[in-house]
Each structure stands twice: as C-alpha cells, then as structure tokens.
Assembly symmetry: C2
Homo-oligomer: 303 residues x 2
Amino acid sequence: MASLRGIQQPELSKKLYKLIKSENHAIGAYESAGRERIGIASQLSDWGEATGDETVSDVSDKIGVLLSELGEQEDHFATNLEDYRTVLKTIRNMESSVQPSRDQRQRTMDEIAKLKHKEPENTKIATLEQQLVREEAQNLVAEAQLTNVTRQKLKEAYDIHFAAVIERAEKQIILASHGRRLLQLLDDTPVVPGDSRPTSFEHAAQARQILNDAEEDLREWTSNIEPINYQSQGMGSNLMPSEGAGGSITTAPATISADAIEPDQTRDRIDTSAEGSHLAKATSVEEEVQQQQQQEQEQPVAA
Amino acid sequence: MASLRGIQQPELSKKLYKLIKSENHAIGAYESAGRERIGIASQLSDWGEATGDETVSDVSDKIGVLLSELGEQEDHFATNLEDYRTVLKTIRNMESSVQPSRDQRQRTMDEIAKLKHKEPENTKIATLEQQLVREEAQNLVAEAQLTNVTRQKLKEAYDIHFAAVIERAEKQIILASHGRRLLQLLDDTPVVPGDSRPTSFEHAAQARQILNDAEEDLREWTSNIEPINYQSQGMGSNLMPSEGAGGSITTAPATISADAIEPDQTRDRIDTSAEGSHLAKATSVEEEVQQQQQQEQEQPVAA
C-alpha cells in the first residue's frame, strides 16, 4: 500500500476518490502517448534525412510534422480530461463534507435510544431530542445540497469529457486525412539495380501545400456539438434553488461550503497548448526556404 | 543503460531501431489508457449505484457502458499500431541486412588502395579487383532492394497508422455523441431540503434506446477512406520489378532475404477485439430485465 489517504476518506466519498485517482492514471497515459508520438515524429524525420533519398526525406519529414500535431492533440485531450477530473472533485468534496452531518445525526439518535432503554427518566433525553431536531434540519440541507451538486456536476463532468473526445477525434481526422494525401505522393515504383531515383522530390510543392491545408483546416476547426441543457441555472450559492422556489429554507445560509460551484456553462478557456505550432513552424520554414530560393534565382550569385 | 541491443544494431538500422522501440512505448501508453478507461467505467457505475438516486444510478451505469467502449477503441487502436510497427520492422531488417554488403565492398576497396600504395606489383591486387566487381554487383542489388522496400513499406506503415487514427476517431465520435444525448436526460433541477427526487428514472426507456442506437451505429461503421495507390504491385519476391522491366538482372536470385515483403493491400484481418461487446452485453441485459418486467406485469405475483 503506497498511501493511507484513500483509507482516511469518509465512506461516502471513497468510491469517487478512487475513480478520480484512476482518472489521473488515464490522463498520465495520454500525456505519455502524446510525448512519445512527438518524439517518434522527430525520429522519423531524422531517419528520413539519413536515407539520402530526397523523396523519402521530404515525405517522412512532413509525416513527422503531422505526427507531432497528432501528439499535441493527445496532450490537449489530457488537459481537457484534467478539467473534467476537477469537476468530479467538486462532487467528491461535497460527499466528504456531508458525511459528518450524517454521522452526527446517527450518533445522537443512537444515544437517545440507549438512554431511553437504560434511564428512561433521564432529563438529558429532552435536550438530546432538541439537538436532534437541529441536526436533522442541518442534514436535510446537506442532503439537498449533495443531490443538487451531484446531478449538476455529473452532467458537467461528462459534458466536458465527451466534448473532449469529439474535439480530439475531429482534429485527428483532419491531420490523418492530410497524412494520407501525403502518402499518395510517395512513388514506390521499384527500381532495378543500378537505376537511380530522381535526385529531387517531384511533388515537393504539393507536399508543402498539404501541410498548409492541414494547418488551415486545424485553425478553422470549431466545435459543432449541441450544447447540453442545464436545469440547474437557477441554483444559488447555497446550492439550492434560488429563484421562484419560495420557502424561507431556500434562503438559509449554506452550512456546507463548496468552492466554484456555479455551473461553468461557457467554457471559453484560453488555449495555451502547443497545438498547431508544429504545422505553423513547418509551413513558415518552408516559406522562408522558398523565398530564399526565389531570391537566389532572381539575383544569381556571381561565381 | 538497460540493454546493449541498440548498440549491436548496424549503423544503418540504428535510427529505425530506436523509433520502433519508442513506438512500443506509445502503444503501451494507449493500452494503459484503454485499461484505465474500462476500469473507470465500472467504478462510475458502482458509484452511481451507491448514491441511491435511481436516475444518477441509471445514467452513470450507461455512461459507464459507453466509456468501456471508448476504452476498447483505445485498445483496438493499440493493436492497429502494432501492425504498423511490424511493417516498420521490415524496413529495419532490410537495413541491417544491407549493412554487411556495404561494409564488405568498402573493406575490399580499402585493401586494394592500401596494396596499390605499398606493393603496387602484388598479384593479389588483380584478385581483389575481381572480387570487388562481384561485391559491387551484389551491393547494387542490395541497395535497389533497400530503396524498393523502404518506399513501399514506409507508405504501407503510415497507411495503416493514419487509417487507425481515423477509425478510432470516427468510432469514438459515435460513442461520445450518444453519451451527450444521455446527459440531456439527466434532470439537474435543484431541490429544496426535504423535497425528494422521483424514485424512478423517468427517461429510462430513452436511455436504453440510446445504448441500442450506439451499438447499431458502431456495428454499421465502415471505413470510407480513399485507398492509397501503390506502384510497387509489380515487385517480385526478389524485391525488384518483376514484369515488363526487362534485363536479366531483374531475375537474379535475391541475395538478401526478407520475410513477408508482399504489399498487404487488402487488410481484411479478423477482428478479435472486444469492441462493441460492452454495448452488446448492456443492451441484452436491458432486454432481459425488460422482458422480465413485462412478464411480471402480465402475470402479477399473488401476494
């Protein structure tokens, strides 16, 4: 056993505690997959260069650029899963904060039952019964908060999760489809011994265009998913209905605090990931080389 | 350093050797991600049941089924990457088998140069020069085989890789989209303390239908990708053009062997993975329960 922390969790939040831990491993696996893919991309480019075959070199370098972007998408997916995991933690925290309220109520009930059996005339019974009324009121609030948070956050968590799956999938389809276009440019007609391949890659311009197309398609990608409808928009900071529901109890101060509980409907986070950067780098380098070549043609160097 | 094997690789195949090793790590990461996802799916289902909220229980159980399928897709993706990795090994094996031919030729050339410098009258020079002619012929064949295999197998490897990316993406979009439909059924209207949620899940039939739809869509999925054109179809088992190319050299026996070198254009492998099985299991269990409920309604148990 590597840690005692799981054991210290209240009974109520143990299951989610473990799930959140497993999710951390899953996220780690995607981060690792992304890192490996980016590494393989540059290994492929290096290998292609070492073959001395200009066509293989150019094609494998450009496949490498697309593989790097595929890897960045895995990493971006892991970042989105981290967001989903954070939302699950809100439920787990609520669960662990509700546990003491349940326990206290149970303890008082047990004590009353014991006293009634052993010393039915003890005046402490009346005091305990008054205490129980207060504890039951507190527990009712806690249980309402728990079910409200559970449903809202479960919905929000998998809203994020499924949206992330779709985003990665759509972007990777763009990248892989352009990758297949690149492969079509690689002429694998076999040669006989002594025959040499053309020294330059005849489809170099088309290959460059494919990377440009991939970059543009990725930049223009937008999410087309239908938004999830939340009925919890009227939920106040006390985690109960805040409008039109009436009843003084809805305005009771929340006895149980929970951070950042507002449904985060408009998830317009600023994307700081590296996605698209490999393509942007690759296409801008290509442009520089092209410009240089053009300049050289325009102003031939005097030998 | 955990192993000396990389060092023992001939110079020519070192880069690809390392790339293939990295790919093994990437595949491992996807296998791990798939395993974790399937584990999380059943943790989520268990958690939902423990909440005692029939709606949360049903929705989280069905999200769990979809998550399991998402996990199976990661695993299936890893299997496809393993196929791509096997194709890369063909290039690597060819590289390591060509190295001795290059080395031998170089050694003979060096020896001739040394002798010509030190003992220009030595009769061994003529013998070595005859040997060099033979070695050069052998090397020409080896180099032709290398370029033929490299181009064909590079194309085939990334054909498989990109097709696998697209397959996983398309199938995961199906699963995640149905997952989002499920979330729409989860009513997260907040309740006030003392209010109880409906004891049964009002959209249970719709939720069941969503899993059926997902199962059907997944079963009906077919690949729509445009096939890659191979020009190497005429390549013979000697790894050189086998038809219409003429020249006696094309019929020379292959001095370098390579296993399973035929382009594997029609990749109709039998799918032994578990994909779809979670949905099939879930929907058949649901049907049983439904039938049971129907029977119970038809034949009310005498109290």
